[in-house]
Symmetry: none
Subunit: 189 residues, 2 copies
DNA sequence: GATTCGATCGGAGGGATAGTTA
DNA sequence: TCTAACTATCCCTCCGATCGAA
């Protein structure tokens, strides 16, 4: 992700072309510039449902007849989601925050359709995930919200590394990962 | 002015539509979006207008007699050194210091044998380059020495961006680059 | 008590610019 | 004295460990 500085008027122009709540600047601009656009409205994307949706749904169910499928699907998840993680990019990050965001971005890419479940993960009084910067900021003091790259979600970032790892574990579980995989994901941080 | 976050690819797309040195993101975007655009190409580039820019031109005059050799070198250099610079890695750096070190590392890789000439480049009382951290630290206060990656050399890092550019120019010249190439190198920062 | 959670605050990095020197 | 070059202080932002609160 890159930050660019633009003038007020141009900013307003972009904002006015938002097509769904939480749409990122990238997404809006890509549409305006007629470029390929990955980001879709979180709920209605058919493509995402077909793509990654099945795996997570299967994973999360406790239904007997799906167990066989579950094992297989789990493999796929490992192949997909872990491929989304660019190890080099990860290693290059200066601190835990950078890695944290990269990992969450990978999880989002692999589970865009289900990702809003993370919204239920929160602390005693602070929100940990939300669709807007404001929601996080309002839920505590100095929460340091950061946008999960290429996603419409924001995370609370003002915590120690241990808690960030806990958050990753919770996210992984919420998305239906086995404990072993959740552990692997946590350890990426 | 507003800051917006955009993805890497979109950023590259915008950069590629730059029409003059120093053009702002707003200006480029406005052109791409067919909006009114105030910013025009400056008569002189921004860099040239900076007071320090003039100094390095003056400083260069002492290397006149090297011109013949310089021209020949230039061909080789373009093939070697610019290949050493990983543009993506460069772009990913958070600040000027990271890029500075990366560029110097590339120059070192291309000129390891002669690189110790940079040792002659220094400020009024501070050293700019040395073989040890201590040498730099001792030559001034808060010089913030940093090792040039994968090299035995250290650089002084506590300076503004303009000076870092000057340092690059001087290094390039000391290594025998033509002024045009030195300029290209400086502009990598 | 023991444990979890929050957010303050110290530390590090970066670099513009005020201030100093030649 | 005046100016240009150079220095390094100081302010800003980012991080995240630590310690107080719940």
């Amino acid at each position: 992700m890159k930050n660019i500085e633009i003038d007020e008027e141009l900013y307003q122009y972009i904002v006015q072309h938002t097509q769904f709540i939480g749409e990122s600047a990238s997404s809006i601009l890509r549409r305006l510039l007629s470029l390929e656009n990955e980001q879709q409205p979180p709920i209605f994307s058919v493509e995402q449902l077909l793509d990654k949706g099945v795996a997570s749904v299967v994973d999360r169910t406790s239904s007997d007849q799906l167990i066989g499928a579950k094992v297989v699907e789990t493999q796929d998840i490992n192949e997909t989601v872990f491929n989304y993680v660019n190890k080099e990019e990860l290693a290059m990050q200066r601190g835990a925050v950078g890695r944290f965001l990269l990992i969450l971005a990978a999880l989002y890419r692999g589970h865009a359709a289900q990702f809003s479940v993370v919204t239920e993960i929160s602390g005693r009084d602070r929100l940990y995930f939300a669709n807007t910067e404001q929601a996080l900021a309002a839920s505590g003091s100095s929460t340091k919200p950061r946008q999960i790259p290429d996603s419409p979600f924001w995370v609370m970032t003002n915590s120690n590394t241990t808690r960030k790892k806990m958050m990753l574990t919770k996210v992984a579980n919420a998305l239906g990962y086995s404990d072993e995989d959740a552990e692997k994901i946590r350890e990426l941080l």
